[in-house]
C-alpha cells in the first residue's frame, strides 16, 4: 500500500475531470492499450442528477463520464455479474460498489481477473429527486442551473454555470430530512480499499488526485498510465496523508453516531405492514443472485399472500440468506415503492454479525462469510 498524487497530462481530461482527472486518464490508458474491452462508468443523461451506468468502448467518449455524480446512487456490482461476465472491464466504484463486487467474487459470480477497479472515495450520495428539492429549498440557485456538485468539509457544495459556488452544511440539510441517503449517513466505509486503487480529493492539493494504491494490480495501473504519458505523479507530503486520514476519521465518527441513533429504531419499524410483496428489494440487491431459484419463490413461501407478507417470512428469509454480506448500498430503500427503510435491518444485522465474527462484508480479507465455512468452529 502506498500513496501518490496524480494528475492528467491530457488537457481535455484535466478540464472536464474533477481534481486532476486521474481516474479518466487511467481509463483512457486501459482502453487505448487494449487492456480492457470497455469502461463502465456513470455519464449524465437528462442532467447532472441523472447519472447512468454507461459502457464506453472508445476512449474519445470517456470525456462524458468525467466528473463526479453525487446525485446518482447507482449500483454496479450486479450489472458486472449479469452482463459483463465474459468481458474485461474497467469500472469506477464507490465503496459499496466494490464491496458488492467483493462479495460476488467470494460467491464465484465475478472473476477478479477480468476487472480493473478504480475506487472513488465517497462521503455519501444524494437521491436525485429529493436532491433537487433540497437545492430548491436551501439554496439561492435553481436546481436546473447546477452543473456539478461536491461534498467537502461537511458541506454539500453546488457549482453553477457561471463558476460561482454555494455551500450548505450537510448536518443542517440532514436535520431537515434532506442531504445524503439514509444508508450513506451511517456508512462507515468511506475509502474503497478493496479496489485496485482508491482515488479522491481528500488531502490532495488543488488540481491533483490523491491515490491510495491498494494492491499490485493497482501499482501496475499507475505505472502503465505513467509510462503511456497520460499521467504524472508525485509523492504527497506527510501533512497531506494526515489530512486525508483525518477526513476519513471524522466521517467514520459521524457515521458511527448515526448508527447508534438509527439501529435501535429497527424494532419500532411499523412500515412492514404496507409491504406489497413486489420483491423489488430482492431483485435489486447485488448480493441476492439466485433469481428464479430464490427460496421466496418456492410454493411454501408464496402461497396465500393476500395482503402484506409477514416480515419474518419475507425479510427474515432474505436476512438469513445474506444479511451477513449486506454492503449497505441502500438500493432496497431506493426501489421500495412503499418507502420501507429495508436496508436498516440488513445493515444492523451485518453489524451484529461483524461484532460476533469480525467479518465486515466486502471488506474483510480473503475469507468467506463464516456462515459458509466448513470449519468446525462455533460462533
Amino acid at each position: 500500500m502506498s500513496y501518490i498524487l496524480a494528475k492528467s497530462k491530457n488537457e481535455d481530461i484535466l478540464k472536464a475531470g474533477e481534481c486532476g482527472g486521474a481516474v479518466t486518464s487511467i481509463f483512457k490508458y486501459l482502453l487505448d492499450e487494449g487492456i480492457v474491452d470497455g469502461v463502465l462508468a456513470l455519464s449524465p443523461h437528462d442532467d447532472v442528477y441523472d447519472g447512468i451506468p454507461t459502457f464506453v468502448t472508445n476512449s474519445e467518449d470517456l470525456i462524458n463520464t468525467a466528473g463526479s455524480y453525487h446525485c446518482a446512487p447507482t449500483m454496479i456490482g450486479d450489472l458486472i455479474q449479469k452482463y459483463f461476465a465474459d468481458k474485461k472491464v474497467a469500472v469506477a466504484v464507490k465503496p459499496c460498489d466494490i464491496r458488492s463486487i467483493d462479495e460476488l467474487i467470494k460467491r464465484h459470480k465475478i472473476n477478479p481477473d477480468n476487472i480493473y477497479t478504480v475506487g472513488l472515495n465517497c462521503g455519501g450520495t444524494v437521491s436525485p429527486v429529493s436532491g433537487r428539492k433540497m437545492i430548491d429549498l436551501f439554496y439561492e440557485a435553481s436546481p436546473d442551473d447546477v452543473i456539478s456538485e461536491e461534498i467537502d468539509k461537511g458541506q454539500f457544495i453546488i457549482e453553477l454555470a457561471d463558476g460561482s459556488e454555494e455551500a450548505v452544511k450537510i448536518h443542517d440539510l440532514e436535520k431537515e430530512g434532506y442531504g445524503r441517503r439514509n444508508n450513506c449517513q451511517r456508512c462507515d466505509v468511506k475509502i474503497p480499499r478493496k479496489a485496485n486503487i482508491a482515488c479522491g480529493n481528500w488531502g490532495a492539493e488543488d488540481g491533483w488526485t490523491f491515490i491510495e494504491i491498494n494492491d499490485d494490480k493497482g501499482q501496475k495501473l499507475i505505472d502503465g498510465a505513467k509510462k503511456a504519458g497520460i499521467l504524472e505523479t508525485k509523492s504527497p507530503n506527510e501533512a497531506a496523508i494526515e489530512g486525508r486520514a483525518k477526513v476519513e476519521k471524522i466521517m467514520i465518527k459521524m457515521s458511527k453516531k448515526n448508527q447508534e441513533a438509527t439501529y435501535p429504531l429497527v424494532n419500532e419499524v411499523e412500515e412492514w405492514n404496507r409491504c406489497i410483496g413486489c420483491y423489488a428489494c430482492r431483485d435489486v440487491c447485488p448480493i441476492c443472485w439466485c433469481y428464479k431459484n430464490c427460496e421466496l419463490s418456492k410454493s411454501y413461501f408464496k402461497d396465500d399472500i393476500i395482503a402484506s407478507p409477514m416480515p419474518i417470512a419475507f425479510q427474515g428469509v432474505r436476512l438469513s440468506h445474506m444479511s451477513f454480506s449486506c454492503v449497505d448500498c441502500g438500493q432496497c430503500d431506493d426501489v421500495c415503492p412503499m418507502d420501507i427503510p429495508v436496508s436498516l435491518v440488513f445493515d444492523k444485522l451485518q453489524k451484529k454479525y461483524q461484532n460476533r465474527t469480525g467479518y465486515l462484508a466486502g471488506v474483510s480479507d480473503d475469507i468467506k462469510p463464516p456462515l459458509y465455512s466448513p470449519d468446525k468452529v462455533e460462533l
Binding site: V266, N267, W272, N273, E295, Y300, F301, M310, P311, I312, A313, Q315, G316, V317, L319, S320, S323, F324, V345, K348, L349, K352, Y353, R356, P370, L371, S373, P374, D375, K376, V377, E378, L379
Partner: protein, 134 residues
Amino acid sequence: MSDEIKIVGLLCNWCCYGGADTAGTARMQYPHNIRIIRVMCSGRINPSMIFKAFEEGADGVFVGGCHIGDCHYDAGNYKWSRRAKIVQDIIEEFGIEKERFRFEWISASEGEKFQKTMEEFHTTLSKLGPLELE
C-alpha cells in the same frame, strides 16, 4: 392456557430424536405440546424453516442436535450452531422474543435431558403466552 402452546421441534435423527425416544420408552412425562419433525441432521435445518414455523403459528421452535463432536455427518451441528446464532439475531428484530427459539445438544441416551428441556421450554413459553405476529 398453557395447553394451547404450540411447539415445533426439529430433531436430528441420530441423537435428539433418539433422546426423545428414550424419554418415551422410559415413560418420562414431558409436555405434549411439542410437534416433532425428524430431520437427518441439524445441519440440514435452514433458518427459513424456523421462520416458516413461526409464521404458521408456532409459539416456540426447538431444535435438537448431537453434541458437538458427535455429529453423524462430522460437522453438521457446527454448521447449525452458526446458523442458530443468525436465527436468534433475526427473530428479535421482528418482535419474536429470543426465548421462543431454543436449541440444545441432546444425545440418544439423554432421555432425561430431553424431558427436562421440554419442561423448561414449556414453562418459558407459558410465561410468554401465545405469539402474536402482525
